[in-house]
């Protein structure tokens, strides 16, 4: 028995008796083993992920490959076939591929929202991380977080009186004699609503990167002849790319699967893929096809991110965009 065990044994029972030592020793030894410690520390997380993530995803996969009730009906790929619709491709009737087009539009909107969020976040976080007075930083970051205190749904509804045909923006435009713009019930409404909701998710990681960026690097670039734009391109952007990627990937995933915002603000042209999935589960009661659509979304989103990550790694490998001049 090592002295370490002695200490542990004393802690359990102040007066150890050698006679009962064998069982207690074994228990203590087991309690001290790496396997037990690993299970204790990782166990809750593993349990949580299994129950709330792995099991539902497995269920989706199972539903997607059965004709109807899982294990009670035959295995099939007909649901995936309905998505791709080979006959429409062979007859070159691409307009018939409504699900593919809808997914394409969702991915397209997700890319636009991600890029817009980053474009908006860069100047804000550059100011917050590099120029804001120290005592104001916390307060300004709080301003970014405060909207989360209100329901996402209510905040999205709030855009309707702003964007509608006789809403704030269009009233202002017509008052000064400009034509009104169709901002609601189309994809522009979806994009505006999604950017509004997701900008904080790019601001926060990008702010962390900006905050960690040594300001003397920017000064050095400026001192060596870089204009503001060149200093951004050569120094700020490559060094904050990890933060931008972290925020961008998150926004992309969430936007590609967006449901509430396009439902409220998107109308027909802003309709997104997650709404169709909902229809299959909720209205059509075709859980198998809905599951197949969900599986396709997961695969496409993960594939897109995989490509983006490869690109991101290449960027780092070449030590910055446009940095390979020498």
């Amino acid at each position: 028995m090592s002295s370490q065990d002695d200490v542990a044994a004393d802690a359990v029972r102040p007066q150890p008796t050698p006679e009962t030592g064998t069982l207690r020793e074994r228990v203590l030894e087991w309690a001290d083993s790496e396997v037990f410690k690993g299970a204790i520390s990782l166990g809750p997380v593993l349990l949580l992920l299994t129950v709330f993530y792995a099991v539902p995803v497995a269920l989706l996969l199972i539903y997607s490959i059965f004709v109807e009730d899982p294990f009670a009906s035959g295995l099939t790929f007909e649901h995936f076939g309905r998505f791709i619709d080979v006959s429409a491709i062979t007859s070159l009737q691409f307009s018939e591929l409504s699900y593919v087009r809808l997914l394409g539009r969702s991915i397209g909107i997700a890319v636009i929202v991600t890029v817009l969020s980053l474009v908006i976040s860069y100047p804000i976080t550059y100011y917050l991380g590099q120029h804001a007075p120290e005592r104001w930083k916390i307060a300004l970051v709080m301003l970014v977080i405060i909207p989360f205190w209100t329901s996402y749904l209510i905040r999205t509804y709030a855009w309707i009186p702003i964007l509608s045909n006789n809403g704030f923006i269009n009233s202002a435009l017509t008052t000064v004699g400009l034509p009104s713009l169709p901002l609601l019930n189309n994809y522009i409404g979806s994009i505006i609503g999604l950017v509004y909701v997701f900008v904080p998710f790019t601001i926060l990681p990008l702010y962390a990167s900006m905050e960690g960026l040594d300001s003397s690097l920017i000064e050095a670039a400026r001192d060596l002849g870089a204009s503001r734009w060149e200093a951004f391109r050569e120094v700020v952007f490559p060094l904050t790319l990890p933060g931008a990627l972290a925020g961008g990937v998150f926004v992309f995933i969430k936007t590609a699967a967006a449901y509430v915002t396009p439902s409220l603000l998107g109308g027909t042209s802003g309709r997104m893929y997650a709404q169709v999935i909902e229809t299959q589960f909720g209205t059509a009661f075709n859980w198998n096809f809905g599951a197949a659509l969900a599986v396709i979304l997961v695969v496409v989103v993960l594939g897109t991110i995989w490509i983006a990550a490869r690109w991101g790694i290449d960027v780092k490998g070449s030590r910055g965009l446009g940095g390979g001049g020498l």
Partner: protein, 358 residues
Amino acid sequence: MTSTLHVDSVTKDFGSVRAVEDVSFTVDEGKFVTLLGPSGCGKTTTLRMIAGFETPTEGRVRLGDHDITTEEPYLRPTSMVFQNYALFPHKTVGENVGFGLKMRDVPADERSDRVAKMLELIELPGIEDRGIDELSGGQQQRVALARALITEPEVLLLDEPLGALDLKLRKNMQVELKNLQEELGITFVYVTHDQEEALTMSDEIIILNEGEIEQRGTPTEIYESPRTRFVADFIGDTNLLDGTYVENGNSAAVECGSVDVPIDSLSAAADGQSLSVSIRPEKIALGDGAGNGTETAVTLRGEVEDVIYQGNVAKVHVTIDGTELVLEQQVIDTVNLPTPGSECTISWDQENTNVLTG
């Protein structure tokens, strides 16, 4: 074209804090001038105003006839070496050194030639493709220097560039920097809080304290003839005695407690005025009690209080009626070190007594 750097009555406020107050100096082309002072004395702010990272609240900065007070940093013929080097971590050594040329649209071929030459100059040839994190602190320091010099600036600004290096490397770099500066003939404005570094390298030293210039002079002038209490105390070790000025016929002295330090009579000082004197420890000689009376020597009688052996020198603490003076003796022979408690005389040449007016 002579491009003397002029800093004219420059003041800088950060909110309600005045970092630099009415600082003026000129630096002739090709000189090595050091701004020396404790942290918070305004030396870095002054340097940053020359670089263009800060705009003076009042006053002008000129280079030759050209007013550069509000010119953007990237348009100024100045280059800065940063305290933490500020090398771009995502770029190779070659890309770092060539950055300034790239920003000036120098073609890639010429750029790589000049980078190679510059790396030879700093004695690190052929490391273009290395990453910054693969370099030692000393190598990073040299690369930062190369990056700043490649654009052939008229003035090189250095903000405590050796601060992060260990002592031995720092001493080597001091000599190398000085040699490089003489070889290139570029004006160097160097900021440090390390007085020894300033004395080693500078043609001239400007001592700053609380945003104002205390004294400006060559290293010898600064060390041998400090004018203010602050300068005497900040540069090197010294015996600082505070007292009052007493004039007695054609002789004069500063009464410092139990010790009268004779000085030349001052036309500017009135009887009874408070004054301080500074005597460097190495200027004081230790006698055996007999005295060594040359005409201008100041000789005092006292007792050896303590002897601190430091290898090449020994610090001897002597009390004269309760006033302690420290003197420094070369240790040639450890047997002859004075013993604490013994009677002694100390003496120094009167011209080594510095009267401090500020």
